[in-house]
């Protein structure tokens, strides 16, 4: 806003002075110049990993899922571990774009686009696992309720696995639409910069004839708000439903009412770790340190402290309730997790998820990108192990000792998992090349945040126009009469 009230508590969201034109230039630059050798190297590795993964998936589809290490009692292991892991990764994207938007957290603006893209790619990776697990993926459409010629055979709407089908597909669709709607104004910016040719033609189609009309902007803002409002409960519902895959069963260690909130907290925890991993690389490679600032990283680490705390509390609660319930099977399941044959996995999980986030209490660590990067990887590993512990340790020791067994992943399972990382990074690297990874329109709107109006920097190409002095601008916010602070005017 022009008459923005400045508080000494606020710091600019874009740390270096930039004009609107410079911002456009900077954000569009990676798409408009030829890729660097670093990009080619990264892309080459990602595609190679993806190719290997695709080969392995091809082999198992041709052979049958007997090539997996699953056995009679451990019917789920790597497949569902990876599925839950990837779905969880996806959640931070929607959380950043929707929940932080509803809370008017303006610092989300320079990371939301990339985080949403990450969501889409992570959900694609996640969806692969149930589909492959079916054994005959070409019949995957059988999970949809459509009138068929097998009598009046319908899908079972009472099954949490079917709820998953609806949850994941809705989540993917709504996230994709949300992402695309957010992209339209930026696509128009790119279109108007492009010279005639394929790029211009493609962006012309994709930007749907956006003119920057404020009548459209006004409606656009309404739609964006509505989509954020719809996506927020969706985030919570998706992981809740995923947790119900377990919680509605009777297996000790799964049959717990704490699962929905616990899973959601874990998802946000791991998702933010992944956003940090990607953003730290991106900001350095593309030179966006002034847009994706230390403050962004710091805020995300604070969210990690909170969600890490929630996850730790959930672990403790589970243990306590297992003891307090007096249910011997439940008690055994949890003692077995901590001290049984898979204790190593349990303690990796505890070290990574319970202990490591507390390092973020130290400001030095919270503001060091290198330290954050390492810790974000540690948390990703920890959250993968959390899903592994939940799934495998509960299944390998159930009610009957006669059905006890051990599970070891085969190369096929490990290869499929690694292959999904190839898919994820291939898509992300392509995204960085072809679309603006920072929301141009939104960053422009926060350019004046905690700055005196839109004062152009001295090297601005635009003609500096004498602006009216804003006498209120430099006073602390309390000195401004409250009457002029309308809801829309107040920078939050």
């Amino acid at each position: 806003m022009s008459h923005q009230h400045l508080s000494s508590l606020r710091v600019p969201l874009v740390t270096e002075p930039r004009t609107l034109g410079q911002l456009t230039e900077e954000i569009c630059a990676p798409m408009e110049r030829p890729p660097t050798w670093k990009w080619w190297v990264a892309f080459g590795i990602a595609v190679a990993v993806l190719g290997t993964g695709a080969g392995i998936v091809g082999y198992q589809v041709a052979t049958g899922i007997g090539v997996w290490g699953l056995n009679k009692t451990i019917g789920w292991a790597f497949d569902i571990t990876n599925f839950v892991f990837w779905v969880g990764i996806g959640h931070a994207g929607t959380l950043i774009s929707a929940i932080l938007f509803l809370f008017r957290q303006k610092w989300r603006t320079s990371i939301n686009r990339a985080a949403e893209a990450m969501t889409l790619f992570a959900v694609m990776c996640a969806a692969l696992f149930p589909v492959i697990h079916m054994g005959r993926p070409w019949l995957a459409f059988w999970v949809l309720p459509y009138p068929n010629d097998r009598g009046s055979l319908w899908v079972n709407f009472r099954s949490p696995l079917l709820w998953d089908v609806f949850a994941i597909s809705t989540y993917f669709t709504v996230s994709a639409v949300f992402w695309y709607v957010g992209l339209i104004p930026d696509l128009a910016t790119v279109r108007d910069r492009a010279k005639a040719g394929i790029r211009k033609a493609v962006f012309k189609v994709m930007s749907l004839g956006w003119t920057g009309s404020h009548r459209t902007w006004s409606r656009y803002e309404t739609v964006y708000l509505l989509l954020a409002g719809l996506a927020t409960p969706l985030v919570l519902s998706v992981h809740t439903i995923v947790s119900m895959d377990f919680a509605t069963s009777v297996i000790p260690g799964w049959h717990t009412t704490i699962f929905p909130p616990y899973f959601v907290a874990g998802a946000v925890f791991s998702g933010f770790a992944m956003v940090l991993t990607l953003m730290i690389i991106t900001r350095v490679v593309l030179g966006y340190e002034h847009l994706i600032t230390l403050r962004h990283l710091e805020n995300m680490t604070k969210i990690i402290i909170v969600t890490g705390g929630l996850v730790s509390l959930a672990y403790a609660t589970e243990f306590f309730i297992a003891w307090y319930s007096g249910n011997p099977y439940e008690r055994f399941a949890f003692m077995n997790r901590a001290f049984g044959p898979y204790a190593w996995a349990y303690w990796i999980m505890v070290t990574c998820n319970v202990v490591s986030p507390h390092l973020f209490w130290f400001k030095k660590i919270r503001t060091s990108p290198a330290a954050i990067f390492v810790l974000s990887l540690v948390i990703n590993v920890g959250m993968w192990f959390e899903r592994f512990v939940i799934i495998v340790t509960s299944l390998h020791r159930d009610f009957l000792p006669s059905s006890w067994a051990m599970y070891t992943p085969t190369m096929v399972e490990v290869g499929t998992f690694i292959g999904t990382f190839g898919l994820f990074f291939t898509l992300f690297l392509l995204f960085v090349r072809v679309l603006p990874i920072i929301s141009i329109g939104e960053v422009k709107s926060v350019l004046g945040f905690a700055r005196d109006g839109h004062a152009a920097p001295p090297h601005s190409p635009a003609k500096p126009v004498a602006e009216e002095p804003h006498p209120v601008a430099h006073r602390p916010v309390a000195a401004v009469p409250l009457a002029i602070v309308t809801r829309k005017d107040a920078p939050v």
């Binding site: 404020h214 902007w217 839109h454 126009v465 829309k488």
Partner: protein
């Protein structure tokens, strides 16, 4: 032939807000304002009504919920009743997750569809765009109610409010 439209270009958000308010208060007809990002406060300055898309969203959600419940009840109670452990066929709590998901899906898709229709955004649109308004310029488009001579007064007003350039166009897409 439509009346010519006067365009005033501005360099900053503050100026375009002031100028929009001034143009409207002076009695000119605002054709539209073009901005590179959503400028808050411009709705008030232009006197725009709140969007009715929220109602579309509500309707879409209601439709989704109804369809989802109908589908589940029809398939599980009428078409293929399956006795699982003596549980009721119309086990409503089990139908809530799918109903919720479809409510959200329908609400989201219908809102976006309504937005695109209302704002006339579609692939293959041939609307022309004013220079630099998707980059770093703000523009006000004024359509005169009666005589084109009014445009001189409007141009003067915009110049006084900091317009860096003005232009006269035959037709402008909104």
């Amino acid at each position: 032939m439509s009346a010519p439209v006067l365009i005033g270009y501005f360099d900053s958000e503050a100026q375009v807000l002031d100028a929009t308010r001034a143009v409207r208060e002076a009695g000119f007809v605002l054709h539209d304002v073009y901005t590179p990002y959503a400028v808050h406060g411009l709705d008030d300055a232009m006197g725009l009504e709140p969007s009715r898309l929220t109602w579309v969203c509500f309707g879409g959600g209601l439709l989704g919920c109804t369809l989802a419940l109908s589908l589940q009840l029809y398939t599980s109670v009428v078409s293929w009743p399956l006795n699982v452990g003596g549980k009721p066929f119309n086990s409503l709590p089990a139908f809530i997750p799918v109903s919720f998901e479809l409510t959200v899906l329908f609400a989201a898709l219908s809102t976006v569809a309504a937005f695109l229709l209302r704002a006339k955004l579609f692939p293959g649109s041939r609307r022309s765009v004013l220079p630099r308004v998707t980059d770093d310029r703000f523009a006000i488009a004024v359509a005169p109610r009666e005589a084109p001579s009014e445009l001189d007064a409007a141009e003067d007003l915009m110049r006084r409010h900091g317009a860096v350039a003005t232009d006269l166009l035959e037709e402008v897409a909104s």
